[in-house]
C-alpha cells in the first residue's frame, strides 16, 4: 500500500505455467498492485474481516451446524476474491473469477437440506456460468488477437489494452480475424462484458441475485457488497483502457447500467422481505457503477464502487441483525417499532439508508452525484446517446429514495406488528461492532472525493481523484480520459458553465432522492402503515413477478433449449450411437475371426509366417520391379 501511495506500482510475474519457445503464448500467474487494485484490496479485506466478525454473531451464537464448512468456504471466498484483485492478466482473473463463482454457489447453498437454497445456488451458478461462457471466449479471443492478456503495469512491455491502442493508431498489427480493428475490439470487449454482466447481476442476467438471498445473511453482505458482484465491475475498471477505445462498448455498458439501475429499482419498490429489497437495490446500484464506467466517469465508477461496498455491507449486516432479532423472519410487514429495541442497529442502518438514497452529506450522495454528473457532461458533449442512459439513472434515484425509506419505516418505525417484533432477540458485540464501524464509514467515506466542494473551494482536496490519476503509466485515470477523448469521442459539455451545471445536477438528483424519500415517509408514516401497493393495480403484479423475467428464462431453458437438446439427442442416439455400435460389433466379430487364426499348432504358425513373408516379398518385388 505504501509503495502505491507514493505513486509507484508493482507488478511481478510469480509463476509461468505454460510457456517457453515452442508455445506462442505465455500463461502466467502474477500480481499487479496499482492504485485501483490496492483500493479494492482494502475494501475487500475490510468488508471480509467485518463479515467474519459478524458471522460469529450470526452463525455461532445461533448454534448453526456446519460451522467448519461455513468458515472454510468463507475463507476460500475471500481468498479467491483477493486473488482476482491481485491478478495481472485476464486469464488469471478468469480463473479466480470462476473460483469466486464456485464459492458463492457453495455459500448460497449452505443450508443445503432445505428446499430453497440448493435451487437458488444452482440458479446463481448457471446464470453466472452462462455469462462466464462469453467471458471465456473473450479471454481466448484476447489471446488470439494480442498474444498476451496482461493488464499492464510497470515492467510489462506488452499489455493488451496498450496493443489495442497502438493497433487503432496503426502502429501495431494484431490478428483481428478479418474485422476492422475497432469492430473486433468492440466484439471482444462485449464478450468479456458477458461475464461482467453475469457476475454483477446486470440485466438480463440479474435474476440469480434476489434468489441468492437464500444464503446466510453475512454471505449476502459479502457477495453483494464487496466481492462477487463487485468482481464484475472491477473487471471493467481493470481493463478500462481497453473499453475506452470502443465507443460502442461504452455505450452498451452505459445503457445496460442505466436500464438495470431503473429496472431493479422499480422492482425493489414492492418487495415484502427486507433482504429482497436490498437485493434489488444492489442490482440497481451496480447499474449505476456500470453507468458511470460506460459514461466515461472512471473515477466516479470506482468511487461509487467504494461507497457502495461500505453502505451495502452495512445494510446487509444491519438486516442480518434485524433477522437475528426477528428469529429469522424476513418479512418487513411483521416488523415495525424496532427502533427503540435495537438503537445501534437502527442508527447504523439509517446511516446506510441515507447513503443508499443519496442524501447529502452521506457518502452515497457524493458518489451517485458524481456518477450522474459525469454521464451528464459527457452526454451534453458529443455523445447525446448517453443522455438516455442518464435519464434512466436519474429516474432511478427517485425510486431508490422511495424504496429505501419504505424499508426503513416499515422495519424500524411505527408499532410492532408481530409478537417477535415486540420482544426481539438481543444481539451481542460481535454484531454491533461491525455495524458501528460501517455505519460511521457510510456517513463519512464520501470525504475521499468531494468533487463538488472541490470545484467551489479548491482548497478541499479530492483524494480519490488524485489517487487514481497517479497510477502507473497506461493504468491511470488521466490516460483513460485521453483515450476516451481520442478514441471514444467523449467530450465534456457545460451548458451552464462548469460550476452551475454541477450544482444543477447535484440539486436535481438530491431533489429526486428527497422526493422519493418524502413520498415513502408520507405513505408509510404513522404507527400502522398500510400496504399501498394495491393501488398500482396490474403494475404491482408485474413488478411483484419481476417483469416475468424468471418465467421468460425458464421458458428459454425448457421450451427452447430442452427441445434443441432433445433433437440433438435423437440424432445422437439413432445416428452416432448406431455407427458406434456397428463399429464395436464389427470389431468384436473381426476379433473373433482373428482369434481363430491362432490355432495352437506350431506348424500352422510356421506356414502362415512364411506365407506372410512371401506375400510381402512378392508384393514389393512386383512393385519395385526386382523381377524385371
Amino acid at each position: 500500500m505504501y509503495t502505491v501511495a507514493t505513486g509507484h506500482a508493482y507488478q511481478s510475474t510469480l509463476y509461468t505455467w505454460v510457456g517457453g519457445e515452442a508455445v506462442p503464448y505465455e500463461l502466467t500467474f502474477g500480481i499487479l498492485l496499482d492504485q485501483l487494485s490496492t483500493l479494492m484490496l482494502v475494501i475487500v479485506s475490510l468488508i471480509s474481516f467485518l463479515v467474519h466478525v459478524f458471522s460469529l454473531g450470526y452463525m455461532n451464537d445461533e448454534d448453526e451446524g456446519g460451522l467448519a464448512r461455513y468458515y472454510a468456504e468463507l475463507g476460500l471466498f475471500s481468498a479467491s476474491m483477493l486473488g482476482f484483485v491481485f491478478a495481472d492478466n485476464l486469464l488469471m482473473a478468469f480463473m479466480f473469477f470462476e473460483l469466486v463463482g464456485l464459492c458463492s454457489y457453495l455459500l448460497i447453498g449452505f443450508w443445503f437440506r432445505e428446499a430453497g437454497p440448493p435451487s437458488a445456488a444452482k440458479k446463481a451458478f448457471l446464470v453466472t456460468r452462462f455469462g462466464d461462457y462469453f467471458f471465456l471466449i473473450g479471454v481466448v479471443a484476447v489471446f488470439a488477437t494480442f498474444g498476451t492478456a496482461a493488464f499492464g503495469g510497470p515492467g510489462v512491455e506488452e499489455s493488451f489494452p496498450h496493443l489495442a491502442e497502438l493497433a487503432l493508431d496503426g502502429e501495431a498489427s494484431v490478428n483481428t480475424f478479418g474485422f476492422a480493428p475497432s469492430t473486433w475490439f468492440t466484439i471482444v470487449g462485449l464478450l468479456v462484458l458477458g461475464g461482467v454482466m453475469g457476475k454483477s447481476a446486470q440485466f438480463p442476467f440479474h435474476t440469480w441475485l434476489p434468489d441468492a438471498m437464500e444464503g446466510p445473511t453475512p454471505v449476502s453482505a459479502l457477495i453483494h457488497a464487496a466481492t462477487m458482484v463487485a468482481a464484475g465491475v472491477y473487471l471493467v475498471a481493470r481493463m478500462y483502457g481497453f473499453y475506452a477505445l470502443s465507443p460502442t462498448a461504452l455505450g452498451v455498458i452505459a445503457f445496460v447500467g442505466g436500464f438495470t439501475a431503473l429496472f431493479a429499482a422499480t422492482m425493489g419498490v414492492v418487495k415484502r422481505e427486507i433482504k429482497q429489497v436490498l437485493a434489488y437495490s444492489t442490482i440497481s446500484q451496480y447499474g449505476y457503477i456500470m453507468l458511470a464506467l460506460g459514461g466515461g466517469g472512471y473515477v466516479a465508477g470506482v468511487f461509487h464502487l467504494t461507497t457502495h461496498a461500505v453502505f451495502k455491507a452495512l445494510l446487509f449486516l444491519g438486516a442480518g441483525s434485524v433477522i437475528i432479532a426477528m428469529h429469522h423472519n424476513e418479512n418487513m410487514w411483521d416488523m415495525g417499532g424496532l427502533k427503540d429495541e435495537m438503537p445501534v442497529t437502527y442508527y447504523a442502518f439509517l446511516s446506510g439508508s441515507l447513503a443508499l438514497a443519496g442524501i447529502v452529506p452521506f457518502s452515497g450522495f457524493w458518489s451517485k452525484d458524481e456518477v450522474l454528473f459525469e454521464t451528464l457532461i459527457h452526454g451534453l458533449g458529443d455523445s447525446p446517446l448517453l443522455l438516455g442512459a442518464y435519464a434512466m439513472g436519474l429516474l432511478a434515484v427517485f425510486f431508490t429514495g422511495f424504496y429505501t425509506f419504505r424499508m426503513v419505516l416499515l422495519t424500524f418505525h411505527g408499532e410492532p406488528r408481530s409478537d417477535t417484533a415486540r420482544d426481539p432477540h438481543g444481539v451481542r458485540w460481535n454484531v454491533k461492532v461491525p455495524l458501528v464501524v460501517l455505519g460511521t464509514l457510510a456517513a463519512v467515506v464520501g470525504v475521499i472525493n468531494l468533487t463538488p466542494v472541490h470545484t467551489l473551494v479548491p482548497a478541499v482536496p479530492e483524494f480519490l481523484h488524485d489517487w487514481l490519476f497517479h497510477g502507473p503509466e497506461g493504468l491511470n485515470g488521466e490516460h483513460y480520459e485521453e483515450l476516451l477523448h481520442d478514441f471514444a469521442g467523449y467530450t465534456k459539455g457545460y451548458p451552464l458553465g462548469e460550476t452551475l451545471t454541477m450544482l444543477a445536477s447535484a440539486a436535481v438528483s438530491l431533489g429526486l432522492a428527497l422526493a422519493g424519500a418524502g413520498l415513502a415517509v408520507a405513505l408509510y408514516r404513522g404507527p400502522e402503515p398500510v400496504e399501498h401497493t394495491d393501488k398500482l393495480g396490474a403494475l404491482k403484479t408485474v413488478l411483484f413477478n419481476n417483469y416475468y423475467q424468471d418465467e421468460f428464462q425458464v421458458w428459454l431453458a425448457e421450451g427452447l433449449t430442452a427441445r434443441v437438446a432433445g433433437a440433438a439427442d435423437t440424432v445422437d442416439v439413432s445416428g452416432i450411437d448406431g455407427v458406434v455400435n456397428f463399429v464395436s460389433s464389427l470389431s468384436l466379430f473381426t476379433g473373433d475371426r482373428l482369434r481363430r487364426v491362432q490355432t495352437g499348432i506350431v506348424s500352422n504358425y510356421a506356414a502362415l509366417l512364411t506365407l506372410g513373408l512371401t506375400i510381402l516379398l512378392v508384393a514389393f518385388g512386383v512393385m519395385q520391379g526386382w523381377f524385371l
Binding site: A606, L608, L611, G612, L613, L616
Partner: protein, 443 residues
C-alpha cells in the same frame, strides 16, 4: 541400471563411443535402451524372488535372465549385422529357456517349444537376409553397408535381404506376421518372464531395428531398391489392428495382455513408418523410444500384477478378477494405472508417449497412421477397462482367499505404478535425451 542412467545423463554417448573397430557403438540411443532393459530386468528380478519361492533351479533362472539382458544390451549397441545377429540369439536362447522354466507345467513347456521353433525359423530368415545384404554390400558394419547400398546394381537382392532382415526384427518385436509365438509364449510362461519378454525383449528388437534400418538402409539411399518405410507402414497398421482386435475378444487376461502387447508393437512401428523424409524424423523416432520406455514400466507392471494374481491362485479370466479390489486395493490401484496408461489415458506416461507418436506421424505427413492408431487406442480402452471394471465394480467371486502379501512382488508392482505415473510429468526429462539420440542416429 544406475550406470546406464548416469552415462545417459552425463552424455557419454555424445559423440558415440565405438569399440572393436565399430562392432559396438555406445551412443545416446544405446544408453537409452539400456536404461529400459535394466529397469525392466531389475523389476522382474525383484518380483521373481517371491514368485519363485520354494522352486528348484532358482540360480539358473537368474542366470538366464541376466544372460538375456546382456544380449539385449548388446543388441542396442550392435554396430554390425553380425554382432546384431549374435546378440539377438544371445537374448533369444535364454528366453526360450525362461518360457519353459516351469518344467512340470505342460503349458509352459509347450509355449517354450513353440517359441523356440518360430524363433528358429525367424532366425533363419534373419540370417539369410543378412547374407543377402552382405552379398550386395560386401560388409557387415552398418556404416559401411550404408555406403555401398546407395544406388546398388542389385536392387532385387538387396530388397529381398532388407525385407528378410525386417522379418527378423518383426519376430523379436512380435509384429505381424511373426507374432504367432507371442500369445502362446506370454500365456504359458511364468508371468514375470512374460513381463520380461513382452517389455524388454520387444524393446531390444526395436533397438536393433531402429539402428539397422535407419543407419544401414537410409531411406533416401535405398528407396529405389526397396521402400522399406512403406513395408513398415503396412506392418504397423496390420499389427496394431490385429493385436487390438484380437485382444478385444479374449477372455483370459494374460492372453489379452499378450495381444495388446502385439498392438503396442504396432504403435512403436509408427516410429519407423513415419520416417518418410518429410517432417522431423528425430521427433517420431524419439517418440517410439519414449513409448518403449513408458511401455517398459506399464506393461511390466501389468504382467507382474498377473504374477501376483497367479501367486494368490486367482484364476486367469476376467471373471476371476471380479471384486479383487476389495481384497487388494493397493495392487488394484496400480493395475488400474497400468490399464489406463496402456490405453493412453492421461493417468500415466502412456498418454504423453502415444501423443508424441501420433503427433510425429502427423508431422511426417502420414496422418492416416495416426488415425488408425487413434481408432485402435479407442478400441483398446474397451478391453483394458474390462479389467478395471471387473476389479472395482463387479461382485467378488467366492472361494478366493488373498491371504499373504508377497513383499517383493508387491514392491515391484507399486514401483512400476509409481514410475508410470511419475513419467507423465517427468517425461520431458527423458524426451530430450530420446529426441537427441534419435536425431543423432538419423543424421
Amino acid at each position: 541400471m544406475g550406470v546406464s542412467v548416469a552415462y545417459l545423463v552425463s552424455g557419454v554417448g555424445d559423440p558415440a563411443v565405438e569399440l572393436y573397430g565399430g562392432q559396438l557403438v555406445v551412443d545416446g540411443m544405446a544408453l537409452f535402451f539400456q536404461v529400459i532393459f535394466t529397469s525392466v530386468t531389475a523389476l522382474v528380478a525383484l518380483a521373481s524372488y517371491d514368485y519363485l519361492e520354494d522352486m528348484r533351479h532358482q540360480a539358473e533362472y537368474y542366470i538366464l535372465l541376466l544372460l538375456a539382458a546382456t544380449g539385449m544390451s548388446l543388441m542396442a549397441a550392435a554396430g554390425s549385422l553380425a554382432v546384431g545377429f549374435v546378440a539377438l540369439e544371445l537374448a533369444s536362447l535364454p528366453s526360450y529357456g525362461l518360457v519353459a522354466f516351469l518344467k512340470q507345467n505342460r503349458g509352459s513347456v509347450e509355449a517354450g517349444l513353440k517359441y523356440f521353433l518360430v524363433g528358429a525359423l525367424s532366425s533363419a530368415v534373419f540370417a539369410y537376409g543378412i547374407s543377402l545384404v552382405y552379398a550386395v554390400s560386401g560388409s557387415l558394419l552398418i556404416d559401411a553397408v550404408a555406403e555401398s547400398v546407395r544406388n546398388t546394381g542389385l536392387p532385387g537382392v538387396l530388397g529381398v535381404g532388407v525385407l528378410m532382415v525386417l522379418g527378423g526384427f518383426a519376430f523379436k518385436t512380435a509384429s505381424v506376421p511373426f507374432h504367432f509365438w507371442a500369445p502362446e509364449a506370454y500365456e504359458g510362461a511364468p508371468a514375470p518372464v512374460s513381463a520380461f519378454i513382452s517389455s524388454a525383449s520387444k524393446a531390444a528388437g526395436f533397438a536393433l531395428a531402429f539402428r539397422v534400418m535407419t543407419v544401414a538402409f537410409p531411406i533416401e539411399g535405398v528407396v529405389g531398391a526397396v521402400d522399406w518405410v512403406l513395408a513398415v507402414q503396412v506392418l504397423a497398421v496390420v499389427t496394431m489392428t490385429l493385436g487390438n482386435f484380437a485382444a478385444a475378444t479374449q477372455e483370459n487376461v494374460k492372453r489379452m495382455l499378450a495381444y495388446s502387447s502385439v498392438g503396442h508393437a504396432g504403435y512403436v512401428l509408427i516410429g519407423l513408418a513415419a520416417l518418410t523424409g518429410t517432417g522431423d524424423g528425430g521427433l517420431v523416432l524419439g517418440a517410439g523410444m519414449i513409448h518403449l520406455l513408458v511401455y517398459g514400466f506399464m506393461n511390466t507392471g501389468a504382467f507382474l500384477f498377473i504374477a501376483l494374481a497367479e501367486y494368490w491362485g486367482v484364476g486367469r479370466t476376467f471373471a476371476d478378477y471380479n471384486g479383487l479390489a476389495r481384497r487388494a486395493p493397493l495392487a488394484c490401484v496400480a493395475m488400474t494405472v497400468f490399464m489406463f496408461s496402456l490405453a493412453g489415458l492421461p493417468v500415466g506416461g502412456g498418454f504423453v508417449s502415444k501423443y508424441y507418436l501420433f503427433a510425429g506421424a502427423v508431422n511426417a505427413g502420414v496422418w492416416w497412421l495416426a488415425l488408425v492408431g487413434a481408432v485402435n487406442s479407442a478400441l483398446s480402452l474397451f478391453y483394458y477397462s474390462r479389467v478395471v471394471k471387473a476389479m472395482w465394480i463387479e461382485e467378488p467371486a467366492e472361494g478366493v482367499d488373498v491371504s499373504s502379501y508377497p513383499s517383493t512382488l508387491y514392491a515391484a508392482v507399486i514401483t512400476a505404478a509409481i514410475v508410470t505415473v511419475v513419467l507423465l510429468p517427468a517425461l520431458g526429462l527423458f524426451s530430450g535425451f530420446a529426441f537427441d539420440a534419435a536425431a543423432a542416429v538419423l543424421f
